[in-house]
Subunit: 227 residues, 2 copies
Amino acid sequence: MSHAPRGAAPPPAPDFLLPERRARIDAVVAQRTRTLTVVMEAFADPQNTSAVLRTAESFGVQEVHVVVGPQKRYDRNKKISQNADKWLEVVRWKDTPSCLAALKARGFRVYATHLGEGVRGLSELTFAEPAALVFGNEHAGVSAEARRLADACFAIPMRGFSQSFNVSVAAAICLARAVDRRELERGRHGDLPPAELEALRARFYALSVKQRGRIAKAARVAERRKA
Amino acid sequence: MSHAPRGAAPPPAPDFLLPERRARIDAVVAQRTRTLTVVMEAFADPQNTSAVLRTAESFGVQEVHVVVGPQKRYDRNKKISQNADKWLEVVRWKDTPSCLAALKARGFRVYATHLGEGVRGLSELTFAEPAALVFGNEHAGVSAEARRLADACFAIPMRGFSQSFNVSVAAAICLARAVDRRELERGRHGDLPPAELEALRARFYALSVKQRGRIAKAARVAERRKA
């Protein structure tokens, strides 16, 4: 365990990381973005939150927004998120308008999933500008506020009898599409400015050193028990 | 409840279906295909099987293959599949070679997901020909047999620290991509020949009549309890 105080960034101590791990971190950071994000609005099932976090992390989405619902707080599920949230910035909000207003002030186009009449298809959305994809509660869908504040409502075309996709499946389909479109429309997906890239790299080095420390400690404990 | 014997197709009794329901069935059948399929190989978690069935149904995939694993049998989970399997043909196999040989004999290109060296990216696959997407066990991945028998191994590019997507998320991303590509390469996704289309329509009418009968019966029971 690192003895650095909580909150303060411990020194990167790069000698403690294997070159392969450093190369992996560098590759991940190069594919990270803060111009594509996900908003999870009042999810009822924390497993869905964890699943979306894992998917977002896998697509290089660095920042994710969680609007806390009335029923349950977001509860970290390590098994499902596979610790993905450790590598993410998860921003928690008490209400949807504050969250969406903040994103719009930062220049995001807000796209809310909604299975209503006259909404656009996923394939019609553009990702040339920064974009936030809003997913709603599993039962009620996105709120009326989210629909009102969104730049557009959209849906994944449904071709069968099922009325909807599971929300973590929907998020994956939308993120996959968004990343493809971004590469077409923006030329690339990962786009952190140099200073942010450096800061994130340093943070990931530090997190990995901590992780390595924990693994080494666990190995020593296991060794001692065997002895 | 219908009094038709199990297994025999009851008469379509179209008068019993609302016109909206018939129109919905017709629309679904027009988008159905048997030239895109999914093979689930020895999944450990039946919830994943149920989730993939729901996703496949939503994408109009009519036929799905399940290779039963040594650990657990496929156990129907209504909550997660949302009864999607009712509208599907789920073919069960005892082993992978029999399943893949049967598909190849029918002209399918077999694409196995595999996170190894030198595999293709999802975006490199072609869907001009009938195609089967093989997803492996959550821990072990696809079997060596599946990799050997496949026409190609492929992976969804991973951009973050997570080593893999959840298998139901992976299936959704691949199916979304496959449907897009099919529309580009084949001009359309739903492609049942007229006779199959008619037979499926008749089956869905009959299933819906049964369902309507059950709903009506449940309503009568509830009414009687209230009285």
